[in-house]
């Protein structure tokens, strides 16, 4: 069987890559949810979202400096999962309030350019915080497996977090690390929680109504600005959760990681259908698979091009994505 030229084919490693892809996909999906929620409600591509994620990773990194080693760290991890998402959430709410809210009535490109500006500001903050070279967390928060720590050390020597994709491609002795289990244990409740919130709660229905027709929502007595702020808050929470899990899994962060991962996540949102929550999940998984399998079978450098190519093709031919959302009713 001649499937590819770049890597030795073995069923075991293929399934490992697929598994890695699904795990990364879950991460992308978490971040993608932030993009899709905000876009669904105010039709803004929030360029800054990826950098909020990055700052969440930076915060996690700093908090880990105070982390106790395993097994005491097991108390610390829930603390991380509480503090970082809340901080990211507050950051997101603040950005919305200061930058986007005054521009509600402006043409679409104006808040878009502002979002670019916010992204740059956040990147600068990240750069001030951790400098221009990647940083790795030293603490062993999770039970170390021989593979995990040697992977850590080698990741430290890698120059950019892109090269973390090489870490993904290295065959693992064990299928799931503890970081992966944490990932699954975080992502699934988070997404389920969101789905339940949006479908069954009053505020969730208000969010859906506002996304479908903001003027009508106002006429129902819904405080649309509050709903928008809540959406940003939720997006921030997901960015924060993704940040904790990502940092504990990949263990290396750098100040530009928000840009790349943000674009992957946004592509995921578009693939699945921007504005659609299950779409973000589906898209995340697909992009994760492309990311993982692509790194192995077509070489890390072209993975980027592949994913961006996917974004372009989708935007040109099927902007509504797979689980297509209708275009908002024209006012």
């Amino acid at each position: 069987m001649d499937l590819c030229l770049f890597a030795e084919f073995s069923f075991q490693s293929l399934s490992q890559y697929v598994l890695n892809g699904l795990l990364m996909g879950a991460l992308f999906a978490l971040i993608a949810l932030g993009y899709t929620l905000v876009y669904g409600i105010i039709e803004l591509v929030n360029f800054a979202h990826g950098d909020v994620f990055m700052l969440g990773c930076v915060l996690t990194y700093f908090l880990c400096m105070f982390a106790p080693e395993y097994p005491t760290s097991l108390i610390f991890i829930p603390l991380l999962l509480l503090i970082v998402p809340i901080c990211c959430s507050l950051l997101n709410i603040t950005i919305n309030y200061l930058v986007y809210r005054p521009l509600r009535k402006a043409p679409r490109l104006v808040p878009l350019v502002s979002a670019l500006g916010v992204s740059f500001v956040l990147i600068n903050v990240g750069q001030m915080a951790i400098g221009t070279s990647p940083k790795s967390i030293q603490a062993q928060l999770l039970p170390s497996e021989t593979n995990q720590s040697s992977a850590n050390r080698e990741t430290e020597n890698a120059t950019r977090s892109n090269e973390a994709s090489e870490e993904l491609t290295r065959p693992r002795r064990s299928w799931l690390t503890w970081a992966d289990i944490l990932l699954i244990g975080t992502v699934i409740p988070a997404m389920t929680g969101l789905a339940l919130l949006v479908k069954f709660t009053k505020i969730g229905k208000a969010m859906r109504a506002t996304a479908q027709n903001p003027i009508a929502a106002r006429l129902m007595g819904i405080n649309v600005e509050f709903v928008i702020a809540l959406t940003f808050a939720l997006g921030g929470i997901f960015a924060g959760l993704a940040a904790v899990v990502f940092t504990l899994k990949i263990t290396t962060i750098d100040y530009l990681m928000g840009y790349k991962n943000g674009l992957y996540a946004f592509t995921a949102a578009v693939v699945g259908g921007v504005g659609s929550i299950p779409g973000a999940v589906l898209g995340g998984i697909l992009i994760g698979l492309i990311y993982s399998l692509g790194a192995v079978y077509i070489g890390g450098a072209w993975v980027d091009a592949c994913i961006f190519g996917t974004l372009i093709i989708l935007l040109v031919f099927r902007p509504s994505g797979i689980l297509g959302t209708r275009v908002r009713e024209k006012v």
Binding site: K205, Q212, N213, A216, R218, M220, G221, N223, E329
Partner: protein
């Protein structure tokens, strides 16, 4: 005479640099149907949107039950008892009929009362009950209009604002809807009806205003307007 339930005094509204409403004054007495008729672009929808707080006012006053509401945010105006069935219905397309109605009751907390009112809505517009689990976007124009009005009623408003309920609908449906409006009015609902179909509107209204490019050019009892030659020429197609 008691105070009007709704009063606009010298209201100016602009979209950007373009002034759409140039100092209009309108009064609705309690339990009246008042209609504002005029051509496209006269400013009818802007008037209702300004009242509901969705469009900011530049100059003038709006009083609801004597209370100034022109600086009040839209979601609070609804809570005060002023509901609108907007231009183009603006149904929530991916919520079911029932959920649309529930959205209308968003500001309420009394589950039992809300259920009661949903049943009342089904009584007023029986077709909605048949379609209660269908998504709003799949309804026909007439059904959507009924849903929009029923949805507006869900907040138990003291006054209803209706923006062109007849637009794009078949005559049979229009009659049904206008019958319903009259029934609501008989039960005590005050109504401000904005319409392009001047004849129908003037037939069911007590008082009428004619709006032309942002100014009120005529104000009289509906029956008078119906028989006024100028109105007949311009709006009644005679």
């Amino acid at each position: 005479m008691s105070q009007p339930i709704l009063e606009l005094k010298g209201v100016h509204t602009s979209y950007g640099v373009i002034e759409v409403l140039k100092g209009i004054s309108i009064k609705v007495e309690p339990k009246q149907i008042v209609t504002v008729i005029g051509a496209n672009g006269a400013g009818k929808t802007t008037t209702l949107m300004t009242i509901s707080g969705c469009v900011p006012i530049q100059k003038g006053e709006i009083l609801f039950n004597g209370q100034p509401i022109h600086r009040t945010p839209a979601h609070q105006i609804l809570k005060m008892g002023l509901a609108q069935s907007p231009e183009g219905r603006k149904i929530f397309p991916r919520l079911t009929v029932k959920e649309n109605l529930e959205m209308g009751a968003f500001t309420r907390n009394d589950k039992a009362g809300i259920q009661q009112d949903i049943e009342k809505a089904y009584h007023l517009f029986p077709i909605l009950k048949d379609r209660q689990k269908q998504l709003g976007g799949t309804l026909s124009g007439g059904e959507q209009q009924m849903l929009a009005i029923a949805r507006a009623l869900m907040s138990r408003p003291k006054m209803l604002l209706l923006d062109e309920p007849s637009l794009g609908l078949a005559p049979m449906i229009i009659l049904k809807i206008f019958d319903a409006i009259q029934e609501l009015n008989r039960e005590g609902m005050s109504v401000l009806l904005v319409e392009q179909n001047a004849r129908l509107a003037l037939k069911i209204a007590h008082w009428g205003y004619v709006l032309e490019t942002g100014t009120v050019t005529m104000s009289a009892a509906a029956q008078e307007l119906l028989h006024d030659p100028r109105v007949q020429a311009a709006y009644l197609g005679e």
